[in-house]
Symmetry: C2
Subunit: 450 residues, 2 copies
């Protein structure tokens, strides 16, 4: 097949849709993935496939919050350094033990932090506020501070009642969840499988990272960047190599990717060039779909082989030729070969797809937006809205975003430092220094969170 | 050995030092770890062990930023849709190719995005602004827009000159670095080895996550939490199990940990309780050190076996009994068994130690602080400064931190939601709603960065 023929002059007539419309078309075409159980120690960073509930009250029993003496508050309501109260010590309870006796008037029990408060006691006095003595040959304690009902005791069910929800489906599991899930006995945790994301780079100029590029050639750095982005977003990247600008080779590789992966991401070949093979493939899918739907089957959602065009142009800078289709039933996201546009396209389309595959609803899978003050103007206007790489910082409680230099689509120098994208609306002017802008925080969050 | 005897009455006489002093004592005792080379595809999330430089100019040659025609700007300086300029097409250059001819007056060459701009050309006109024709039997092009010198061309060295620094030692490698390192041919990357961090939980009350706890017992959830925190901070956790409150068993486990790990973290047993085995060990190290230094060797930095007390109490809430020592030459950080205090102690001491082990200087290894407005008051005063779990959010460019409920040292319920710690100075009052507070952002950054 001849790429140039497939591209033809219609290559200039692609219809641009808005970013949100493109995101929704893509996300709504993606079915959630499947769940699996993983050991708690491997669950951090994964997304819950089911809601989890407290399996007991928490704390499960009245626990001492201090090393000290368990006693009855009415016995020591008026204790003071000058007028200490003497209590007979009838035993001790370490953490992990259960008291053998009940606290009655005039008695106390030595208790350690985490120990189960014995029946009859309703307060714990810190060790530092007592003195051990022997009275009439028996162990006793002088309590030198007044104790109040409930002091230094964590009541059962104070934090959770059995059956309380502790985490909703889709929750990103953080270290704090490990504590909760561990306490409630979730040794194995239901999580969504990490989506497998195939990466294909197209372009005759691409050479391996190990190579010394021939004149006119460059190394395929986008595959390495995409692999890192995919892993950071919770996916499992698999690199399907560098492909020449030849339709047959690319289709063969796409077919393999569609069999093996949950999401296919390509970089390169989506513009109006003579060899832009991904553009040719995407528009062929669109044309077959139109022919198919008008002739054989008036209302099919997908083509005969699970192919369906989702969009072939997006009203955005950089990366307006970014395209997406369902390919053999799998979402195929065709990103620009320009590193800056590839980076932005990942954040706007691939990361949400990875989240959606883990059961996240469309609204929550979209990039979360917040606001920041512009630390410098962004002077350039644009007919399409623009996503500008930026670094963020906080000064006196105000969040600032500074547009980075080397911001062109083809440029890489700003990528390591970028921790946010500033969203500049379309229009003749850019945005002024000090104005409030919408931003999208990237990846592992701002660099000021070290 | 008898824990109770070792603890004795001196257990109440531990000297508290300030948080910063404790952090510095710890970090200055830790030698950086060693470097290793990893494939670029596994380098994201690691810390560079050496500075890296550009191995060529970037771009390495004049690259076309568009699909179009390479031409001489002086030929088309006045081209317009009404008065197009006709140029003879003398060839084409795809990405990865090198032009076979030189552009002379009146000629142009078809060129694709990423193609090397042929000699003689100093501008590229977008395909959309041209029309292909045949003139006198030869291919030609009508240029309908004026072209300026340098338009749509990325000049060699525009982003980097060969030898320019691209990343400093200690840099956390993000996806954007993968792009740069890939472009410059770093197929293998020098990074610090991930520090191996041993986790030991002490306490007779602790049972496995899989267990149904006996009365008075709880599951060991701190080990699971610490493992997740360590992995998030870049370390490799290894769990050395739940240990009884017995000196011999704990010392045996610590010796094994000191042999196998770079950093040892314990949880539990550091307070004033009768069975607080870690407190007993730490203070034994301190006593041996004092005896050793006064009698045998007046100024040794470390004990005979590489043991040295660093601190045994910190002026902070929660977690004031947090202690640290060098144990058999390895940093040992003894955290509280209370989950809230364990969580805070990790952030203040263990995470900086993991960074220091990866070559980060003390100043940069300390938790990075920023400021936020308090979304609610924190009324409670404290004789020690306090680290309050909080969630952050942004409203109209202002960063807010909201103190979370369930904030007691023994409580877990706030841990999953906490993405920051508010630092409340010591004093009789707390901090008012709307006031500017110092905060430490945690782990993977704020939850508003999804």
């Amino acid at each position: 097949m001849d790429v140039n023929r497939l591209q033809g002059s219609s290559r200039f007539k692609r219809r641009a849709i808005k970013v949100e419309e493109a995101q929704r078309l893509l996300l709504e075409a993606i079915p959630p993935g499947y769940g699996e159980h993983v050991p708690l120690l491997h669950a951090a960073g994964r997304r819950l496939a089911a809601g989890l509930a407290a399996t007991s009250d928490w704390p499960p029993f009245a626990r001492s919050g201090m090393d000290g003496y368990a006693a009855r508050s009415e016995d020591i309501a008026h204790a003071s350094p000058d007028r200490p109260v003497e209590l007979r010590v009838i035993g001790s309870v370490a953490a992990g033990e259960v008291a053998a006796a009940v606290i009655e008037a005039g008695t106390a029990m030595r208790i350690m932090t985490g120990g189960a408060v014995p029946a009859g006691a309703d307060t714990v006095v810190m060790l530092e506020q007592t003195t051990d003595i022997v009275a009439a040959g028996q162990p006793a304690v002088l309590v030198k501070h007044a104790g109040k009902r409930g002091s230094n005791i964590a009541e059962p069910g104070e934090e959770f009642r059995r059956g309380d929800a502790i985490a909703a489906p889709g929750t990103l599991l953080r270290p704090g969840h490990a504590a909760l899930l561990g306490a409630f006995g979730y040794a194995n945790v239901p999580v969504y499988a990490r989506p497998r994301v195939a990466v294909l780079a197209t372009g005759a100029e691409l050479q391996p990272i190990e190579a010394t590029p021939a004149p006119g050639c460059i190394r395929d750095s986008n595959s390495a960047m995409l692999a890192a982005l995919i892993a950071e977003a919770g996916g499992v990247p698999s690199l399907h190599g560098r492909l020449p600008d030849e339709l047959t080779a690319v289709i063969t590789a796409l077919d393999t990717a569609a069999e093996q992966a949950d999401i296919i991401v390509t970089t390169g070949g989506i513009s109006v060039g003579d060899f832009d093979v991904m553009a040719a493939i995407v528009r062929t899918i669109g044309r077959q779909q139109r022919e198919h739907s008008s002739v054989q089957n008036p209302m099919p959602a997908a083509g005969a082989e699970g192919d369906r065009l989702l969009f072939e142009k997006v009203a955005m800078r950089p990366g307006s030729p970014t395209s997406a289709a369902m390919y053999r039933g799998k979402p195929l996201i065709a990103l620009s070969g320009n590193p800056g546009a590839c980076f932005v396209g990942f954040e706007l389309f691939v990361k949400p797809a990875i989240l959606r595959k883990q059961g996240i609803e469309t609204e929550q899978a979209l990039p979360s937006e917040t606001t920041a003050f512009l630390a410098a103007e962004f002077a350039k206007g644009s007919p399409h809205e623009r996503f500008v790489r930026a670094r963020t910082f906080v000064e006196a409680g105000r969040l600032f975003a500074e547009p980075l230099r080397f911001a062109k689509s083809s440029m890489m120098a700003s990528l390591p430092e970028a921790d946010a994208l500033i969203r500049i609306p379309s229009g003749p002017a850019g945005a002024e220094q000090g104005s409030l802008a919408t931003i999208i925080m990237l990846g592992r969050g701002p660099r000021f969170a070290r």
